[in-house]
Amino acid sequence: MSQAIAQNAKADDVMAGMREVAEDWSADQEVFRQTNWGKVMMWIFLLSDTFIFSCFLTAYMTMRISATLPWPNAAEVFALSFGGEPIPLILIAIMTFVLISSSGTMAMAVNFGYRRDRKKTAILMVLTALFGATFVGMQAFEWSKLIIEEGVRPWGNPMGAPQFGASFFMITGFHGFHVTCGVILLLIVARKVARGDYERSGDYSAVEIAGLYWHFVDLVWVFIFAFFYLW
């Protein structure tokens, strides 16, 4: 009996949600009028960015399937030894944790922004930017190691399929560029927060919009980590 009621309530929720979607789209006005426009624009930009990165990853998949030479083993290529046995993928794992940590601090910065706690917001955003800069630094180290020590080039490498270099530099390069832009954006917004630019309007959505971009960069890394490094 109670289960039936719960199920009914759930069906009502779904219906209410559907009705809301239908009303938004048939409003004869902007669909996303109830949502902050800057946030909607950022989401739409991120959607287009999703397609760009997906095209890169799909191209990588195509090259990897169609390569006749063996694909280099990422676990070995990206291994790093600290004086002893080389540990597979260790640098990439550290980079992953750094980026996830930066996402965590960013989420908290957004929260403090909406509580209008300027100091904590600015500090957390700068911390996020520092994590991001660390990530880019480690990526620079990874690139130079690959280019100088392993001899990987966009057109070939000593380990196997020549397409490896092209996919690697294209995908991680574009991602690293996104991280760099994100660090700059975060520092700009953090400065504005610290200066009190948003105090008069009380509108801290700029922090959330910068945060959306930053989380997206982390999101893309989740897919790159899975498909490029682990697969």
Binding site: W25, F32, S54, T62, L89, G104, A107, S205, A226
Partner: protein
Amino acid sequence: MSHDASSVNPVETAHDNEEHHPISLYLKVWGYLFILSALSYAVDYFEAQGILRWLLIIIFMMLKAGLIVTFFMHMAWERLSLAYAILVPPLILLVLVRIMIYESDYIFWTRAIFLGGEG
């Protein structure tokens, strides 16, 4: 057109829902993301192979992506029309992936059979 003004309250929807999440929620999500990352690294470290490896990689990846989008990017608290507008279009990419799998198989066998493994 019954456009009742009560359903449209931009001030309420713009900020109200973001303000009240406790920080502990973000710390919890952060913790889960750490655990999932460690698990996906373990997949490589313990050299899981074959279907098991692919399955684990995909599961951990989707869970991480889901957590980030739902909680960090606040999708759970957005209006449904925005969530659908953003989350549904990328599904078309599965078609692209499917097409390119056929294409790359074709290129692979062309190279293997007619180019002697070159090219």
